[in-house]
């Protein structure tokens, strides 16, 4: 089973992906699985344990279920303030 997702990139991930956002179709069922897929494809330097996930503008666990059409954001270590 696959789903189509909208992925948005920020900061170091945006630079390493070379895009601010993209639509993609994936078999990944969770944010963790999706991040490993994208990391392998694009060579992200941050390992999965250093990245949090948000779906539809809310923080979610890395093993949450992804649904058709979800907007997914991976959040590198923050540095506000």
């Amino acid at each position: 089973m696959t789903r189509t997702l909208h992925v948005q990139y920020f900061a170091i991930l945006r630079e390493q992906r070379g895009l601010t956002d993209e639509k993609l179709t994936t078999a990944a069922a969770t944010p963790n699985a999706l991040y490993e897929e994208l990391r392998a494809r694009h060579g992200f330097t941050l390992t999965g344990d250093r990245v949090r996930a948000a779906v539809n503008d809310a923080f979610v666990a890395g093993d949450a279920a992804l649904g058709e059409g979800d907007r997914v954001v991976f959040i590198p270590p923050v540095a506000g303030g």
């Binding site: 900061a11 330097t45 948000a54 809310a58 923080f59 954001v73 923050v78």
Partner: protein, 153 residues
């Protein structure tokens, strides 16, 4: 209200919105861009935010502060974009009847905001190098990227 702002902060205007005749104490925090971090000379920096979630999480922190401390009001703003030395990166303002609650709440809000808001910072050094703060990984060291903590206070 917690906002992400793309233009310079105006602390006097922000504080004016907190005026309330029930409040006896107003504590504010500002984070300023310093000229050095972890031994490197900083020239300028950029902040980038995931705006909808940063504002939602910032608001959640303000609600928590109002639950934990006896406040009259609390507000915060964080800059995004390109900032120069001395610019204000973040402003937090809190009012309360008594100063103890205002100090405790202001500190709580800035501590939580730094730890939780989806905001990222890239420093531009006098040397010409740049670095996304807190995002260094093994292998970056050859590029001289400091793994250091945040550069404002």
């Amino acid at each position: 209200m917690f906002k992400i702002a793309a233009s310079p902060l105006d602390p006097a205007a922000l504080q004016k919105e907190l005026l309330d005749e029930r409040a006896g104490a107003c504590v504010t925090f500002e984070g300023w861009v310093r000229n050095h971090n972890e031994g490197q000379s900083v020239e300028s920096l950029e902040y980038e935010a995931y705006v909808p979630l940063a504002e939602k999480e910032g608001e959640k922190i303000l609600v928590e502060a109002r639950e934990k401390f006896a406040l009259v009001a609390a507000a915060g703003v964080h800059r995004v974009g390109h900032l120069r030395l001395g610019d204000a990166a973040v402003w937090v303002g809190v009012t309360a009847e008594h100063r103890e609650a205002a100090f405790d709440a202001c500190r709580y809000i800035i501590d939580e905001a730094k730890a939780r808001l989806p905001i990222w910072k890239r420093e531009h050094y006098v040397s010409g190098a740049t670095a996304w703060i807190n995002c260094a990984t093994r292998g970056d060291h050859s590029a001289g990227i400091p793994p250091g903590p945040s550069k404002t206070g």
